[in-house]
């Protein structure tokens, strides 16, 4: 981590991200820790669009983007090139949930299996926000999106969220962790740790989206925090995919808050707020998951 990391701004302000967008904060903090000896790769998505409107750029490190589904494959090529040149550089790929869970999944799985020395960061805002809020396999049960609309016959998204971090960890990746910007020290520590390990690393960072989740821009951090305090999103890390011996919960809420406190602040859940049986089902599922994690 660079000594001057407090002042070091490698992701310039003045980009075109929405007010209250967590993605830019995620990138900003990760680059502060990674420092200037870093090359970034982005998938197509909000981050790429708002940070590189030609001829401007928010990136003060080398950055490359090719397409939506292949950040991991492009990063594989960049990493191979650095290896060929004998250069020791941090290589960090950023992708949204579409570019990670869905269309980008194959390339990501390939990159991890081949063992490229890349930190892959997923900023997960739980839908395809760049194209205007469509469902993703990251979208949680019950959420409204423009392609999972609640109707006479449906409640919104009918399926569960894909457990992406566990899936990547199951590849045997040397380091996988979950994080949010509401727990900044935890995030910083995880980035530092990830960059100290050789091989493929994966960070799954929950990123509340003010536009797609329908909340007031001032609530980004509050909602991030509530996701963790309710147990909806659990902060953990695992090494080598070894959930038996090298798995750690990095933050345990003292007393878990009911999920309704998290759901009620978000317009995307408005249609289920007054449906106790659905809220109860979500609560039950969170309870079962947390019991498994021991809290």
């Amino acid at each position: 981590m660079p000594e001057n990391f407090e002042e070091l701004e490698l992701f310039a302000p003045g980009h075109r991200g929405c007010a209250g967008c967590g993605a830019s904060q995620i990138v900003r903090w990760i680059l502060k820790i990674a420092g200037p000896n870093t090359i970034c790769v982005s998938a197509t998505g909000c981050l790429e669009v708002f940070s590189t409107p030609y001829p401007e750029t928010a990136w003060r490190v080398p950055w490359v983007h090719a397409a939506f589904e292949n950040a991991a494959a492009v990063a594989s090529g960049v990493e191979a090139a650095m290896k060929k040149m004998g250069k020791d550089v941090n290589i960090i790929a950023f992708a949204g949930d579409g570019g990670t869970f869905d269309i980008g999944f194959q390339a990501l799985s390939g990159m991890v299996e081949r063992g490229h020395n890349v930190l892959f960061v997923n900023y997960d805002n739980e839908a395809y926000m760049n194209t205007g809020i469509q469902r993703c396999s990251s979208t949680p049960y019950g959420a409204w999106t423009t392609t999972s609309p609640p109707g006479k016959l449906t409640i919104g998204k009918e399926q569960r969220k894909k457990p992406i971090a566990a899936i990547i960890a199951a590849h045997g990746a040397p380091y996988v962790a979950t994080a949010t910007i509401a727990f900044l020290e935890d995030l910083k520590r995880k980035v530092k740790k990830a960059l100290s390990i050789k091989g493929p690393k994966f960070l799954h960072i929950l990123q509340p989206c003010t536009t797609g989740w329908r909340f007031d821009p001032s609530l980004t951090v509050t909602i991030s925090k509530l996701a963790v305090e309710t147990g909806v999103f659990v902060l953990w890390e695992v090494e080598d995919g070894d959930f038996d011996n090298k798995f750690r919960i990095t933050y345990k809420p003292k007393k878990r808050k009911p999920v309704i406190e998290y759901l009620k602040l978000q317009g995307r859940f408005r249609h289920i707020i007054n449906k106790p049986e659905i809220i109860e089902a979500i609560q039950r599922e969170v309870d079962e998951k947390c019991a498994k994690y021991g809290f």
Binding site: P62, G77, V78, A81
Partner: protein, 396 residues
């Protein structure tokens, strides 16, 4: 220099090795599989100092080449058919980002129905991707054109990716003598790639592949247009330099007995040799026929085509692709070129050899027969499917 007997795939793999490519990312597909196999073997034995990335798909093969090329190194891959289609999206991105990646393509038919044999539908469907396209007639050409492709692609006036097509099985799996130069001769012809324009370097951060609004997009595309136009002269220069070093002369369009020909047959790829073989025979019978072989299809060699056909009355295009609802792609381009020049030459299209259907001596003779009929003023079809059981299709 030594002549050795190689199959087409072996010639391409050897050219990639002798070009000292830094990063190869590839995915196996019949019939180009031998190329990544051979390269992984070269790397495993320390015969080639490169990073070989055994990617999980052709899409990722091209993506990884884009990453490596954007980082400033020489990158190459090989594929065929469905594999080329899977990377189709990335072909546009490689050229749009002006990355001089070189790729060998085993020209194979597209599904459905699935078929692993030769035609040109795969690379023809990539003709608008902004890649320079070369087509090899034999294994020597496959080897030479790969080396030439790197020189042209990496030229600062060009900076575009290039693909070299070699016919599935007819070249990929056929052994032929290939004149292989010494490594130092290749090194002299093809110096290391040292990009000056843009590459990923923490000492000099730049943004590559940014989001471009309407006020700049057309300028990017016009830049690509100019680069492809510049490639015309660069290709001629590189062909000339290659000939002076290695004694083998290439032309965008090479002609055979065209000067006094009333009928000129236009070909691409391995078919050209068979057509010349037949033309020699027909010349003995007094038929005034010649052959113009297209080696460079992108940029399209307008001037060279005109030069080849200017004295002909009938031009017959033999091609292994079809654009449904129009005809063959080469026919369309030749037609536009010839009539755009104001010539009233008759241009006929002959769809041959799709999905590995052998193009036999008698098929070429049938083509010439139809061209002769046209020459004598008889009514003939513009688009002709050769050696097809049309009745079987009607009755199906």
């Amino acid at each position: 220099m030594a002549k050795i007997v190689l199959k087409g795939n072996g010639a391409v793999a050897l050219a990639i090795k002798m070009a000292r490519v830094d990063v190869v990312a590839a995915y196996p597909i019949t019939p180009s599989t031998f190329i990544p196999e051979k390269i992984s073997e070269y790397v495993a034995n320390g015969e080639m100092d490169a990073e070989f990335i055994p990617v999980e798909s052709e899409h990722s093969a091209m993506s990884a080449c884009i990453g490596a090329s954007a980082a400033g190194l020489r990158a190459a891959t090989a594929t065929s058919s469905q594999g080329l289609e899977l990377m189709h999206e990335m072909l546009f991105i490689a050229s749009g980002m002006r990355l001089p990646i070189v790729m060998g393509v085993a020209n194979r038919a597209l599904s459905a129905p699935i078929n692993i044999w030769c035609d040109h539908q795969d690379t023809i469907s990539a003709r608008d991707t902004g890649w320079i396209q070369f087509y090899a007639e034999n294994n020597q050409e496959a080897f030479d054109l790969m080396l030439i492709a790197f020189r042209v692609a990496e030229d600062e006036r060009v900076l575009l990716p290039a693909m070299v097509g070699l016919d599935a099985f007819i070249l990929t799996h056929t052994f032929e003598p290939v004149d292989v130069p010494e490594q130092r001769e290749v090194d002299d012809f093809l110096p290391p790639y040292r990009p000056k324009h843009a590459y990923l370097d923490p000492e000099r951060p730049i943004t590559q592949g940014s989001f471009v609004y309407p006020e700049y997009y057309m300028e990017f595309k016009y830049g690509q247009w100019i680069a492809m136009e510049s490639a015309r002269d660069v290709i001629d220069e590189v062909f000339a330099d290659f000939a002076s070093r290695f004694g083998r002369k290439y032309e965008k369009v090479s002609t055979f007995m065209c000067d006094d020909a009333e009928i000129v047959l236009i070909t691409m790829g391995s078919l050209s040799g068979t057509v010349r073989h037949v033309v020699r025979e027909l010349r003995n019978e007094g038929i005034k026929v010649g052959v113009a072989k297209i080696t460079v299809f992108r940029p399209f060699p307008h001037k060279e085509i005109i030069r080849a056909v200017k004295n002909a009355k009938v031009v017959g295009v033999l091609e292994k692709n079809v654009s449904f609802g129009f005809g063959g792609a080469v026919y369309g381009e030749v037609l536009a070129t010839v009539h755009g020049e104001g010539l009233d030459t008759k241009v006929l299209d002959f769809i041959v050899g799709l999905g590995g259907r052998d193009v036999r001596v008698e098929d070429v003779k049938e083509v010439v027969k139809i061209c002769s009929d046209a020459l004598q003023g008889k009514a003939v079809d513009k688009i002709n499917w050769i050696n097809v059981d049309k009745e079987a299709v009607k009755n199906a």
